[in-house]
Symmetry: C2
Subunit: 128 residues, 2 copies
Amino acid sequence: MNKYYTITELTREFGVSTRTLRFYEDEGLVQPERRGRTRLFRQADRRLIQEILRGRRIGFTIAEIREIIQVYKDPPGEEGQLKLLMKRVDEKRNELRQKRKDIEETLNELDNVEEACLTRLAEIGVST
Amino acid sequence: MNKYYTITELTREFGVSTRTLRFYEDEGLVQPERRGRTRLFRQADRRLIQEILRGRRIGFTIAEIREIIQVYKDPPGEEGQLKLLMKRVDEKRNELRQKRKDIEETLNELDNVEEACLTRLAEIGVST
DNA sequence: AGCGGCTTTTACGTAAAAGTCAATTTTTCT
DNA sequence: AGAAAAATTGACTTTTACGTAAAAGCCGCT
């Protein structure tokens, strides 16, 4: 059946504005089809948007996200390009591992904060 | 001995600019002492900066970081405030868990990209 | 006293990623 | 067909987190 999605269906699903999706199109991240001037998003576009938003959540810039999409769309074939790409991939991975560590540590801290809150509440004599 | 750090010592240690550290002071995140007009950072300031930068890496805004610092500096004592804080902590934790999941997934994808690169290189006949 | 180097303050600038608004279309419903 | 609802476009604005440039102060050294 190959369903089409309207822009507002997707904004509702992902909790973003139409402006945002149009912005992503302007930036060349997605290329929905058109019927007249209306955008028609396919499954592929929808999945792409999921990936874009995931990238956004972990702090990738639009440029970085576009780069990643590019690599999937047409992977480099030449040795120099491939090695460069691998280097960039390795850097990104290190960055993400650091970020993951930062998150673990912060999660632990937040656990402590919660503990402290519970303790304090108990002191005041509030049963949780 | 209670050593003081100059602003440039810290910029070198953490790889940030003096502008950044002054900005954090303007935003009320750190309060180094002064000798004349010169800032003198203590160990406590230094550790605080570490935490600020960690927060920054995982995408916290200055306002959020300030809020966290505030909670440490003077924790709420009243029931309503405590419960509110716990709610905010819980939200933050969920957000961070999502982010961690996003990172895991992206790390896996990057592994695949690397694999693909190696395969392609082997195809071209390059020994890695 | 002069120099180099670091520091300060003030003030304006900027890039990224949208948000907002107004003026048109276009589509949908009856 | 005609009104209402939804979508598009373009221009302008906003927010965050600093960057940058100018003009000057302080400090140790020679």
